[in-house]
């Protein structure tokens, strides 16, 4: 599969004007790639995920193209997107544990879901059992109510449901944040297993916890205030980032073994800009230690190294 996003711009409509949640984003996701999408609150990662799968008011499609496997996805048209949702692109939502109908047995809910997509439940049965084995859930779970399962089990069940029809692209929206540590590890590893077994071709993993991405993602894309900052292989982002924001972000993460008395970490002073009237040029300008006059123009998201994209004027012309 391949995902190509070109100049995607999505705004939120509010009483006081449009919030520029996502501005002119262009990037690719390759076949088999697990891309981590990280950034602070308000950076646009959730907007991006929801725009791809369910663009509804107050979100407003402003421009751009999305091509999945070479086919253009009409994300502005909720009706037409029905053909894509669940079959070609699927999402594991945030708070997935609450995504199941509490008064329905899980098996019944799955049946209804498949029928609504005009798929015969029986034809998917064998595949589902295989997936349940993958996530170490007993087959009896289909006859249970959601309340009988623990948090981690519900999360895994939702993962199975989201990938029932083997979508090309799976979006995982903060699937580990509400879980305990052991379940987090299990769920994260399962995502990789799904990709390896072909239950989905590629995945975009949205999270604010970069250390999880280090464990399971092939590439990481960092976003800031609606703009793309950097995209590269995981090791590169962690060990040799080029964008000033990424550098400051990585260095502000406490790790086991680091103590205040020995090695005081620093954060990034200031806070992200309000996107109701976004600043001119690069959104990180105000907090950036190396900003200069050129930054009043929006830096292009260009490839400075093989598969390493950065949007920073300081990096333009260095390796391109």
């Amino acid at each position: 599969m391949s995902l190509q996003i070109e100049n995607l711009t999505v705004h939120y409509q509010t009483l006081r004007g449009d919030v520029h949640a996502l501005e002119s984003s262009t990037f690719n996701v390759r076949d088999g790639e697990i891309m981590g999408l990280a950034g602070e609150s308000g950076c646009g990662k959730t907007t991006l995920a929801h725009a791809l799968i369910a663009l509804a008011p107050p979100m407003k499609f402003v421009g751009g193209r999305v091509l999945l496997d070479g086919e253009e996805m009409p994300i502005w048209d909720t009706e037409k997107m029905n053909d894509f949702r669940f079959q070609k692109i699927s999402i594991i939502p945030q708070y997935a544990m609450n995504a199941m109908n509490p008064i329905r047995k899980i098996g019944k809910m799955v049946e209804e879901l498949l029928k609504s997509k005009k798929v015969n439940p029986k034809s998917v049965m064998a595949d589902m059992n295989m997936k349940l084995d993958l996530v170490k859930l007993p087959h009896e779970v289909l006859g249970m109510y959601p309340i009988e399962l623990s948090g981690g089990m519900k999360q895994r069940m939702v993962m199975v449901i989201s990938t029932l029809l083997n979508p090309s692209l799976l979006i995982a929206d903060e699937i580990t944040s509400a879980l305990d540590v052991a379940s987090q590890k299990a769920v994260a590893e399962m995502l990789v297993m799904f990709r390896d077994q072909g239950c989905c071709k590629s995945a975009i993993v949205i999270t604010h916890d970069i250390s999880i991405l280090y464990q399971i993602a092939d590439t990481i894309m960092i976003m800031y205030a609606g703009q793309l900052a950097e995209k590269a292989a995981t090791k590169t982002i962690i060990n040799s980032p080029r964008h000033p924001y990424t550098k400051l972000l990585i260095s502000s993460l406490p790790q086991i073994g680091v103590k205040y008395v020995e090695n005081q970490l620093t954060g990034i002073p200031g806070k992200p800009p309000l996107l109701l009237h976004p600043p001119e040029g690069c959104c990180f300008r105000e907090r950036c230690p190396v900003a200069f006059e050129q930054c009043s123009q929006v830096p292009p998201f260009i490839e400075i190294d093989k598969d390493h994209y950065v949007a920073c004027w300081r990096e333009v012309g260095s390796n391109a």
């Binding site: 409509q13 009483l15 008011p57 107050p58």
Partner: protein, 286 residues
């Protein structure tokens, strides 16, 4: 500055909400009528003004006259005053009592809550009409104020319940914990931390109580338990039926008050729904 924007945002939606606009307009019209109405007519409600007895509406008597020749319009506008009075005071007593009991039960919890809950349930189940009939039998003279007290004392349970439930959920919030750690007394916490968060709910509760009080008063008046020394819309309807309006066809005696009650209570409920939509951003349409 931000407060200004917040108020404007509220007004923006308020002025666009049809239910709120229509409801408020209707109430205002009747209110104005109640205030200036009595000065528009020279007749007192019980004066035997027209020697001809029951007459349909004419240019002299806008709403016609009753069986006894009394000016229906005069009765109408005086009755409106009484109706609004009962709504405000009766509804007000009900709301205040409900607030007091609801807040205390919700915040304190434990034994106090159990006791207050029991009291609430008892009052809820009492057949109010039967009790009132008995009380009415002992009271020779009943004023409008007595009626207000009756209504207030029987209408508070559901307000208390709802407030108790809200208080329960607000009580566990962090800002209440913070207030406790600041050494604030419980009563202060209820009134200065919890109640302000429920302002919109309290307003809605009062509006519903207002409408409910009017309706209940009209019912009491109609079956003869109304005030003995005043006129109200319900009493008009009672007299009209008592004195053969249905048989004689003197529709101008009971249709205005009936219509007025229906419109007022309907407008209040409409206001309520409109305000609810206004306060709850999720129900708004952009």
């Amino acid at each position: 500055m931000k407060n200004q924007k917040k108020k404007n945002e509220f007004l923006y939606f308020a002025l666009r909400n049809k239910k709120l606009l229509i409801g408020t307009s209707v109430i205002l019209i009747f209110l104005v009528l109640a205030i200036i109405g009595p000065s528009l007519t020279k007749n007192e409600p019980f004066d035997y003004a027209n020697p001809l007895g029951p007459q349909p509406p004419s240019s002299e008597y806008w709403f016609g006259t009753t069986f006894f020749g009394q000016d229906v319009f005069s009765q109408f506008v005086h009755g409106l005053r009484a109706t609004f009075f009962v709504g405000a005071i009766g509804g007000g007593i009900g709301t205040l009592l409900g607030m007091l009991i609801g807040f205390v039960a919700g915040y304190r919890g434990g034994v106090v809550d159990e006791i207050l809950n029991a009291i609430t349930n008892i009052v809820l189940v009492i057949p109010t009409l039967a009790v009132l009939l008995i009380i009415a039998a002992y009271l020779e003279v009943r004023s409008i104020f007595t009626e207000c007290i009756f209504i207030g004392l029987t209408a508070w349970p559901w307000v208390a319940r709802a407030i108790r439930a809200q208080t329960f959920s607000l009580r566990t919030r962090d800002f209440v914990d913070l207030a406790r750690m600041s050494g604030m007394k419980s009563s202060r916490i209820i009134f200065s931390e919890i109640a302000p968060n429920m302002m919109s709910y309290l307003l809605l509760a009062f509006i519903l109580q207002f409408g409910g009080a009017i309706l209940f008063a009209a019912t009491l008046d109609f079956i003869g338990l109304g005030p003995t020394n005043a006129i109200s819309l319900g009493l008009m309807m009672q007299y009209s039926v008592l004195w053969g309006a249905l048989q004689l066809g003197t529709w101008w005696w009971f249709i205005p008050p009936g219509l007025a009650i229906t419109l007022i209570v309907g407008a209040l409920y409409s206001m309520n729904v409109g305000l609810d939509e206004n306060f709850n951003p999720k129900l708004r349409e952009l």
